[in-house]
């Protein structure tokens, strides 16, 4: 029988720390293989295969780090299929830092398997050129807008050209958000002053993609914060926080972007940084860990990380300031992964919604399950993303709500696409839009 004792020769003591791509994966040793996380993992729930479960993936990562396993096609496949939604972290009693493990694994995959020229170019353009250089992103946005308003998009969609594109490109095409006109993309003023008694001075992360596609969310966030007594500072020259890069295994650039972000916000001289996009918030709260090994950066990074708050987390600390106008609507709430699992924020958005007069809230089944958006997952793994989206939209429609409220642009785009595909009239709103409306916006 395979009693581990006699089966394997004694390993040389002390065991070398486990790492992939220079990033520690010692956390794998916290996993006691209990399996309590299995049924909470969306990919395991869909496929039923252990390699596509948290426990299985941790085991793969461990075996990779120990050299028991080489990075084969199938291993790459199962690790790439992970949403990085971190639902497993929420349920894991052992405290396995899963997010960090999968990021290290993805960095290793990128090192060993950069892929063909086309894939590398695609990554370089998106992760490097556009995200690292906000001005180029703005230009690209203008181009995309032209593509959309000129009728070219309609032509592409109608001609069926999208169907013959490689699947990733087709998914990319279907998801491209409607880029708003230049006015909505214009930068926010450097300071939005508090209305009424001053409660705090905060800085707002306007994001990279966010500022292009969802400039309105940033405006709404600033207005709602101001109505709640905040002087809102919008530091100039903000770039991307590097979250997408880190999730995609682009570690070096993620580190560069983190440093640039810390510097930009340090200049603003505030103690609180407000974020309204979940992936960025969760990632920035992890800067301390990301830069822990760089002596001159460790403490500024930790300080900065501690100053980051999701907008709902911040607002829910005090009752909303009135007057709030009634919003007669039935809504349901979808928890973005990197809010609920990444930042453990579950009660606050619901509490804020409950404070809006006239609003009726119905709970969503599997509200904390990933919708399939997951950063750029819906582009890299369109099939699984679509399965999860259909599951999500099914639950949304079952609530009968007029609108699904959430707190992250990726989820908004994804769920809006899913609802559109089903021909349903359900609207998809950011929490701050609804709050902004209660404060009288749009009337």
């Amino acid at each position: 029988m395979a009693h581990g004792t006699t089966e394997t020769p004694a390993p040389p003591a002390p065991p070398a720390p486990l790492a992939l791509h220079g990033l520690s994966v010692e956390g794998v040793n916290q996993c006691v293989h209990c399996g309590l996380c299995l049924a909470s993992c969306p990919t395991f729930s869909e496929l039923g295969t252990e390699m596509d479960s948290p426990r299985g993936r941790i085991f793969l990562i461990k075996s990779l780090a120990e050299g028991r396993l080489a990075l084969s096609d199938s291993t790459v496949r199962h690790l790439s299929l992970c949403l990085d939604c971190r639902a497993c972290e929420t349920v894991c009693p052992a405290g396995v830092p899963y997010g960090r493990l999968i990021e290290a694994a993805k960095a290793e995959i990128e090192r060993q398997r950069p892929g063909g020229a086309a894939r590398r170019a695609f990554r370089w353009i998106n992760l490097g050129l556009l995200l690292e250089h906000p001005r180029l992103l703005a230009l690209a946005a203008a181009g995309l807008r032209a593509y959309q308003v000129s009728g070219l998009q309609r032509l592409v969609r109608a001609s069926g050209l999208a169907r013959v594109l490689p699947s990733t490109l087709a998914a990319w095409e279907a998801l491209t958000p409607a880029v708003p006109a230049a006015a909505a993309r214009a930068p926010l003023p450097a300071l939005i002053p508090a209305v009424g008694a001053r409660r705090a001075r905060v800085a707002l992360l306007t994001g990279c993609v966010q500022s292009v596609v969802f400039g309105d969310h940033n405006r709404a966030t600033a207005r709602v914060l101001a109505r709640n007594g905040c002087d809102v500072v919008v530091p100039a020259g903000q770039g991307c926080c590097g979250a997408l890069n880190a999730h995609a295994g682009d570690h070096a650039r993620a580190v560069r972007m983190a440093k640039a972000t810390i510097e930009t916000f340090e200049r603003a001289g505030v103690r609180t940084v407000i974020v309204n996009t979940s992936g960025c918030g969760a990632h920035m709260k992890g800067y301390g860990a990301l830069l822990a090994n760089e002596p001159s950066w460790a403490s500024p990074a930790a300080r900065f990380a501690a100053s980051v708050q999701d907008v709902s987390e911040f607002l829910a600390r005090e009752p909303l300031r009135g007057p709030l106008a009634p919003v007669a609507m039935t809504v349901t709430y979808h928890d973005p992964c990197h809010v609920v699992h990444g930042q453990k924020i579950r009660a606050q958005p619901r509490q804020l919604l409950a404070e809006i007069p006239g609003l009726r809230i119905v709970e969503l089944a599997e509200s904390d399950w990933c919708c399939g958006s997951a950063g750029i997952y819906n582009l890299t793994e369109p099939e699984m993303a679509e399965r999860l989206l259909r599951r999500k939209v099914g639950h949304v429609l079952a609530t009968g709500a007029e609108a699904v409220v959430t707190a992250n642009p990726g989820c908004i785009l994804q769920i809006a696409k899913g609802v559109r595909d089903r021909g349903a009239p359900t609207r998809v709103l950011h929490l701050v839009e609804l709050l902004d409306r209660a404060y009288g916006a749009g009337r």
């Binding site: 395979a2 581990g4 049924a39 793969l60 009693p93």
Partner: protein, 491 residues
Amino acid sequence: MVPLAEPRKRALRRELAAIVGAGGVLSDPDELLVYESDGLTLFRALADFVVFPTSAEQVSAVVKLANREELPFVARGAGTGLSGGCLPAEGGIVLSLMRMNRVLEVDYDNQLAIVEPGLVNLHLSWAVGPSGYYYAPDPSSQQACTIGGNIANNSGGPHTLKYGVTTNHVLGLEVVLPDGEIVWLGGRTREAAGYDLAGVFVGSEGTFGIATKIAVRILKKPQAVKTVLAVFDEIERASAAVSAIIARGLVPAAVEMIDHLTIQAVEDAFGCGYPRDAAAALLVEVDGLAAGIEAQAARVVEACRDAGAREVRVARDEAERALLWKGRKSAFGAYGRLSPAYMVMDGVIPRTRLPHVLRRVNEIVAAHGLRVGNVFHAGDGNLHPNILYDPRVPGEETRVLEAGAEIMRLCAEVGGSISGEHGIGLEKTDFMPFIFSPADLAFMQRLKDAFNPTGRCNPGKIFPTRKTCGEAGPVAYRPHPIEEKGLAQRF
């Protein structure tokens, strides 16, 4: 067992794919690797194939193919088992039932549900919850383990004290027998005619065939529930309180104990509200009609106080109650906070011997230079000493096995048993002679032969098998360290 030759393997893969579809067969070694263990990582064995059937007919076809090819096969649920039960001890085919997870029928009038085996235990309670019902057996792993695994191990849980174990809730099953035949055992009612074959099947640990449909009882949720937390500065007093509660004629739904070390782990995990400085805490639940529930809870509180509890309180609301239970039910996993691995024992002892046995358990483990956490179904006398160890430290696994064997012997000596609910599996085969005579075991073997005459269905489990040294195979036999020490023997 010799590894399969490549051409034969490819041919078999094709045949299996014809049965379950190409997406339902795994044979890549990198993928098979993650199936080498269940919840107990001390044991490992590799399969040649893992297949994912979606119907009884597919299960039957795979089983018939395995028989034709003379390959062993074994069912696997979620793999949360703690005795290596679902491991392919001699290679062959693992049938994962995770894609058979539907609730097929719910009959509220007759309080029964018919489910597929891969359904997660808790998901059944979710499905019938909105109508005011639930499925009573609640292993602590219920958020992940499957009903199929539960029936195989006759799983219990905290509420077993009042509501009984899995077998008390199974009415009937559709089973693919080890020769591939599909039969129904039992029925839809509690009293079926003829032999109670459903009763025989439950607890057979996957050696009597593979369940493909299960008819279970569902119960009306109790009108009222009260949960009491009692905190003790000495573990002996907590043990005494357990007997005191029962002696007063109270019938709690659950009486669970959680010791000092375990409290550290669960508080680190979820901050559940157990005082960190306690030597032990008891979680006692009473349920039933709303009328009289307060009085029942008050009597539990009184019994704990009289037994010397430092603090006793009733959970204020559902949120506090849920958090206390979350702590209790996550305890095994939470040991990951303290140690990279643990081995859980599953001894049963007469409740009155608790103080003595707990003391001895702590002494035994300490003597082997290890730490132990205790969290268990105290009302049932079902112990779970969890020995913490680090598999990377040479020699620790051997010491764990030695300490475990001594604990098993201790349980047997005080008139108890070597397994309450986790099954014998691969882990405890050597301990069977502690509690069964050769005649007992021979009779069990005859029953097994009636269901599973070739032994191909889940081989290597429950019974110690005679093997010669040096036999090749996925889990080649070597003398168990505790055999070498003369603590146990094969026969």
